[in-house]
Symmetry: C2
Subunit: 429 residues, 2 copies
Amino acid sequence: MEMMLAKGVKDTSPEEKILKNKIMNAIVKNFELNGYNPLQTPTIERFDVLSSKYAGGAEILKETFKFNDQGDRELCLRYDLTVPFARYISMNPTIKMPFKRYQVGQVFRDGPIKLGRLREFTQCDADVVGIKDMFAEAELLGIAQAVFTELKLNTYTEVNNRKILDAIVEESGVSKEKVQDIILTIDKMKKISKEDIYKELKEKGIDEKNANKIFTLIETKETNEETLKFLQEKINSEKGKEGLKEMKELLDYVNKLGVKIIFDPSLARGLTYYTGTVFEVYLEKSKIRSSIGAGGRYDNMIKDFINNNQEYPAVGFSFGIDVIFTAMKQEQKELEKTVVKAFIIPIGNNKDAAIKTLTELRKQKINCEMNIAKKSISKALDYASSYNIPFCILIGDDEAKEGKVKLKNMLTGEEKTIENKNLKKEIIQ
Amino acid sequence: MEMMLAKGVKDTSPEEKILKNKIMNAIVKNFELNGYNPLQTPTIERFDVLSSKYAGGAEILKETFKFNDQGDRELCLRYDLTVPFARYISMNPTIKMPFKRYQVGQVFRDGPIKLGRLREFTQCDADVVGIKDMFAEAELLGIAQAVFTELKLNTYTEVNNRKILDAIVEESGVSKEKVQDIILTIDKMKKISKEDIYKELKEKGIDEKNANKIFTLIETKETNEETLKFLQEKINSEKGKEGLKEMKELLDYVNKLGVKIIFDPSLARGLTYYTGTVFEVYLEKSKIRSSIGAGGRYDNMIKDFINNNQEYPAVGFSFGIDVIFTAMKQEQKELEKTVVKAFIIPIGNNKDAAIKTLTELRKQKINCEMNIAKKSISKALDYASSYNIPFCILIGDDEAKEGKVKLKNMLTGEEKTIENKNLKKEIIQ
């Protein structure tokens, strides 16, 4: 029997998982600082629920892992955390709004494996239901900025409003039924050349004049305020004006919160359920234009899903844990290999003294372990060194007698004999 | 379309998840203090790998969720975290031993749903490979004690060694091939009456004389040392003596670590892959004898699974998150409903001052949010109260002008006007 992983999934080794936990802890901490509470929905859902109206679209359903339980019910693995969230809202009608929740969990897509795309990956989402005000968006953008600052990643954030983009396309002479299709082309703006965009627009029946008009309108100016002012002069439809009003409100809020964004009227985001603000965070100086977090407002999705007459204005943000992980891995020379800070090596018959030191350090909240398996001191030191454990603590007869230890800094090689009670401050510097 | 959950799975609401996170954080912290590193294996595994030799047994394979991917490969959801761990060890032959890892993750069993048994639940495991010494066991028992002390749960821990139990049964005149079957009956000791045990033993061909002998030997004495001494006098086989030697070593270690255990020679634990020490933690004063954590030594499992000639001595401990959760939920009058500590309510035209206070508090690591959605102050206060948010912060014209806020303690109803800069210490008391 050959040991193999399923296709498209991977193990996260301890050194990778230590970094991944660091990322997730930063995200969760900032979600909670902003009043988001944890929720956990199951990995397994009913396929009929996940495939009902507006639940992710036909494309995603083709990539859903399906199976039957022993009672022959058709089940599936969730493909995102948003649709199960809508299901949760619908099954808990007494929830007090606004309801702010975050969820960290595995999601699954049985799709093609290209450029590191996995069939199982971690999502880290925050969503709020019940706030129409743009402060909801501003807060989520603030969370993204706080997280990426903490993780020392240089990023920039593009923001748009679907109402504005719809209006731009509609007012450029595109017939209503073609608008969404044209937006899909505009969405490729930063991935393919301008020539190819023109070509694709032409194929979709948009002549050069109208294409030019679109290009003039979606251009980003020097400042967000200039972009806003330019569009305020050009756009006439009620929908467009509403989008611009929302964008003005959002810009005011992010300025007050000290959050930096770029208003980019060409930003679309593929998914069709967005109704207003959309945003996407990118890595600065990255060869690939890879989004490491994104979200937007979807005021109709939950309502359509639930199919009642209440309003469920909603905004969400999703962190791309795996892309963030890859970016951070590249920045670091070497990953931390262990959470262990000190490795205690009893010499000769001094296991009891070592156990005492071990217990004391653990009480002081220092992750440590004791040499039990290795036969010789040199093998024990090699072991500690192979895991990059920063300190070894050696306890021989003399040390044990005097309540002291020999502390070896594994990075510098420096050794010194110190009293047991001074260990903590030497290890945590 | 009616919104429903799949059978046997459930949502974990924010108030439940806050408690669950508290439990998991306590466990993870203690795993890391003891030198265990995080590992993440995928939720999806190949069925042929998970069903190969020694991988959980026939019973568990019947309860495995199976499905095929688009390439028609037979996959499944993991039913535990131990077998994927063995798979990981086998695929990473350069890992330095001893290797200590922990994993928190969802596992799945398509079994009967009785008394709250779920088809998807969370496991929290620590396993170490490469240590034959009983210190590995002692450390895991120490982790369990530290976690349950921190969570304020009264528990007791029973410990045995399979070699001792095997010897007891063998030396009571039971033929070798019947030993494991008889142990399955002994395992029911604390669940069914002594009469029923006698009856079952009789049905399995054990006469009263031999049954009496077994009962005499598996009896727990006043102290662990007495139990040990008694058995040392009665047991003659090499295997039994080896088990008693291991038990003595373990008792020495747990005494040194200050870990309390009960040596109970009748403890078996169902699973057949255990080769030495077995342990099980129970709730004190609980009506149901429900195990909230268990584990043991399995020195052959990984070797048999990998099928090479190396030795892989291993010990593991698994926390029963859902049982712990239920026990803690019963102890508490009311669950925490939110992570939010303060709800800021701007009055009149003072949103800017409120945003300032909000930003300041978040910088000081206080989870808080601002009233955006509620139309009136009384509705905002009701909202805060419905989530049991401990403090409301009201900011009107006077307060905004003077850099002050009105702080309302939602539990006592007390209100006072204080300076912005004193907020943190009032909220964190």
